[in-house]
């Protein structure tokens, strides 16, 4: 592995710029963006490569031997796990099977297990929402999460799921539409800047 290639920099790039390239890539492939995403494993592999490449470059530059871990990069990413809610209702055993099926990516099984449950409580809607979310059925996921939150307003797991959905990818996720509307703002700023320059005579 060529660590410079992984980060898209050259051996001549300054430490600060390497750090910047690293941060940019880490933001892109951060596991938080890929929670419940069917491609999470690929992003995780990529994240590992980026961390390793960064460590290699930084170790090499500071003259340390390879393998000595650098503070602030590797290790902190990659494990997010699924925090199991403290559910203890009549369907507890089915629900834990459903969670397992979702974690293994077997959405068909998870869905058919859920369809067989007759009492549909908040947890049921939450899990159904998660199945929908994994499938990319975001409207249905939103409906199911909302239902779960209404039935059990104090459950933090349900609320987080609903917030994540509405935030579009959670922390660090893309907001494609926000960018589209931001352009207008940028244009206005640029125009304003021009006007200022005209008035103040080449300030900057």
């Amino acid at each position: 592995m060529d660590p410079y290639k992984v980060l898209g920099v050259t051996p001549q790039t300054s430490d600060d710029d390497v750090k910047r390239a690293y941060r940019e890539l880490a933001r892109k492939y951060h596991p938080d963006n890929y929670i419940n995403n069917p491609l999470a494993d690929l992003a995780e592999t990529r994240m590992k490569e980026i961390n390793e490449a960064y460590d290699m470059i930084m170790n090499e530059r500071s003259g340390k031997t390879a393998g000595a871990s650098q503070q602030g990069s590797a290790g902190s990413y990659g494990s997010y796990g699924s925090q199991q809610g403290a559910y203890s209702g009549p369907n507890a055993s089915v629900y834990s099977q459903v969670r397992q099926a979702v974690n293994q990516g077997n959405l068909g099984l998870a869905e058919s297990l859920l369809q067989r449950v007759s009492t549909r409580d908040a947890e049921w809607f939450y899990l159904m929402g998660t199945v929908y979310y994994r499938k990319g059925w975001y409207d249905e996921a939103g409906r199911a999460y909302t239902q779960a939150c209404q039935m059990d307003p104090n459950n933090a797991e349900y609320r987080t799921a609903l917030n994540n959905l509405n935030l579009s990818g959670g922390y660090g996720g893309y907001r494609p539409m926000a960018q589209a509307s931001m352009c207008d703002c940028c244009v206005q700023m640029a125009c304003l800047n021009c006007c200022m320059n005209a008035c103040c005579g080449g300030g900057c």
């Binding site: 491609l39 992003a43 990319g136 249905e140 509405n166 893309y174 494609p176």
Partner: protein, 294 residues
Amino acid sequence: MFGFIRPVKPELRVKEADRFQQVYCGLCHAIRARYGRFYTFFLSYDMTFYALVQGCDQTETEPPCRKRCDAHPLFKRACAAPDEATERAADLSVLLSYHKLRDTVQDDRGLKRLAAKLLCAIGKRGYQKARERLPEADLAMVAALDDLQVLERENCDSMDRAADASARLTAAVVPQTGDDRERVLYQLFYHVGRWVYLLDACADVSEDMADGNYNPVVRRYGLTTPSIDEISEPLERTLERSLADVCMCFDLLDAARDADLIRNIIFLGMPLVTRQVLDGTYQTNGGWGKHGSL
């Protein structure tokens, strides 16, 4: 498909705009060489996007060749040299065009149905040829379309369910290679398909309500007036989710060729069209130029 997928030209570099036109023309020539003139009339920006994404793992860009065509008979135009990706895109665009016609025959009435029936008959041979080349893609498309027709007939009120069938139809373009790239491409085109289907439904709300046709957005929100102003916020959110997934897939794809051009389409073009459709300012072809000239 519908032509929603295209770059934002003012943000393109000149060489990228040229390249887009060359791939567009290259695809047209590939279709003509393989299937004759007829199918070139169904050429779209959407399939140009497909050709770009499908070929983005190549590291080399062959120098363009110059060719004359029906639309530009006087002067030769630069065309992307035919490669595997454009040829696959040509086969797929024949399959998709034919299925679109077949769908019109099923759904529409009157003159439109008659015209589609005629075109189907003319295009049948080309379709059979394309089906021989890509049998598994055709099977997946037929299955997805059948599902979609059932859902439309039963007036399905889940827009995700209807969009899922359409998205699977779009995702059928991805070659079955069994590797990670297939997974990424499948997810990418699934969400492109979901986005196109739902956005098209948003754009057609008033038309479909007037004609009494099935429209997933109308059914989902139980609309009584042909206006999406009140629901544009949740619609935007769900469309944006699919776009975010497309962006993330693209990041995982490691595009070696045409990365900036594809990036323009995904990160700028698609969000822009979404906004335009939702606030009602969308115009076919963006009001720019004419067919094929961006």
